[in-house]
Amino acid sequence: MSHKLENKSMNEFKEKKIRLEWHEPKSSYDVIIVGGGGHGLSTAYYLATRQGITNVAVLERKYIGGGNSGRNTTIIRANYGIPEAVRFYQHSLELYRNLEAETDRSIMHKEKGLLWLAHTEAALRQQKARAELNKLFGANTEFIGPKEIQEICPQIDLTGGGVWPVLGASYNVDAATARHDRVNWALAEGALQRGVHIHQRTAVTNLIMSGDKVTGVETNQGPISAKLVVSAVGGHVTTLAAMAGLRLPIRTHPLQAFVTNHYAQNFEPIVASASLLFYVSQTARGEMLMGAEIDRQPSYSYRSGHHFLQNCAFRALILLPFLRNLRILRQWTGVCDMSPDYSPIMGETGIEGFYITTGWGTWGFKAIPAGGEQMAQLIATGQTPELIAPFSLDRFANDRTKADRGSAGTH
């Protein structure tokens, strides 16, 4: 046999390359989407694929997927705390499941299941109620006891270090993870191929108003006019909305995460504990990926700190003692748009020609496909789809806030 390997079997795993081909900017579009993160790209993708609207530009201040879409912990789950959210996130989870087949690109989507652990009687009742609510509205969540937890994840110390005993868990069977960059790129490629323009390094400096109507944007590359401007901005949305005279119930908080070095064994599920406030999963490279709650102070700073590492690691070690043999490789921070009821804000703004998708707090990644699909439907039809109607901005004026305790990072 020759030294040169016959690479047939290996080539089966050779991926189709993602090709991103950029366009020259035009002076006018039907739709301008501000923000080239997951939600902006997804909106563009679904506009092009589902609604046949391709005279669209996505404007990104830096590079696509460089904000929160590239900084999250990539968890896709549907076990939320209110009916409207369960329906919405379950739909998103199902769209994710088909995204690889649909785009013909690997997004490294892997179904893992998510254990939401209960350590107290009260939490136990909460997780039971959550499982029932989830089932009722279409999500696949079971309530399970310690024995089943141990079978799914043998690494968990059920005694919780003698302080946080694991009494049970709600198990979101369909929960998954995907590679965030690949999700962004697959959606960007799909949109670009169909004629959508994506302009990187194009920062929106102002909104162009004609009376009370938004008619375009000023950018560092010059003005661009549009029939409709959609804000899919993460982090700096308050500043953008203020350009149209719109005030938002958004407060921006940093959220930190970190990964360890490679853990040699398989760690199957995603594990979360609301009492201990952390969540952990294993990346495709074998690293243990961990996150916790948002930083206390409102801030736009991307600085990470040792205090978070210490806190989060301490809590994670209580349940997963094997982590003490690992080392922290890197740490990073994103800035999250927290809404007062821990639910997103999508749809009309009351300003003609200006739609918004924001308030994605710590729950944006899992909502990328459904958020984009529904926003695209709104843009195409002018009618707010039923699935996202509960999340409109006017819910605050109408006393219809959607307080959701199933959101992560809340305290």
Partner: protein
């Protein structure tokens, strides 16, 4: 990033000991009473830059204090 907040009674203490308090600031441009109530209840300035904020030292002296902080850098400027 964990920051430290200068408490006039307890000295420089970690932010985890404090609870953040928003200082509502309804813009004068909003005239309608209902709109002012809505703004006061929910809407936030959330500025990128220096803002005045209130913190309650819940795990310390249990008193309110005010600082001016740059939200881009977390630097406390006064």
């Amino acid at each position: 990033m964990s920051i430290n907040i200068p408490c006039p009674h307890c000295g420089l203490r970690p932010v985890e000991e404090f609870v953040y308090g928003e200082i509502p600031a309804v813009p004068d441009s909003i005239r309608d009473e209902d709109a002012r109530d809505l703004d006061r209840a929910f809407m936030l300035n959330n500025p990128e830059g220096v803002q005045e904020e209130a913190w309650f030292h819940s795990y310390g002296c249990r008193r309110w204090l005010r600082i001016r902080r740059d939200t881009r850098t977390d630097e406390i400027v006064g």
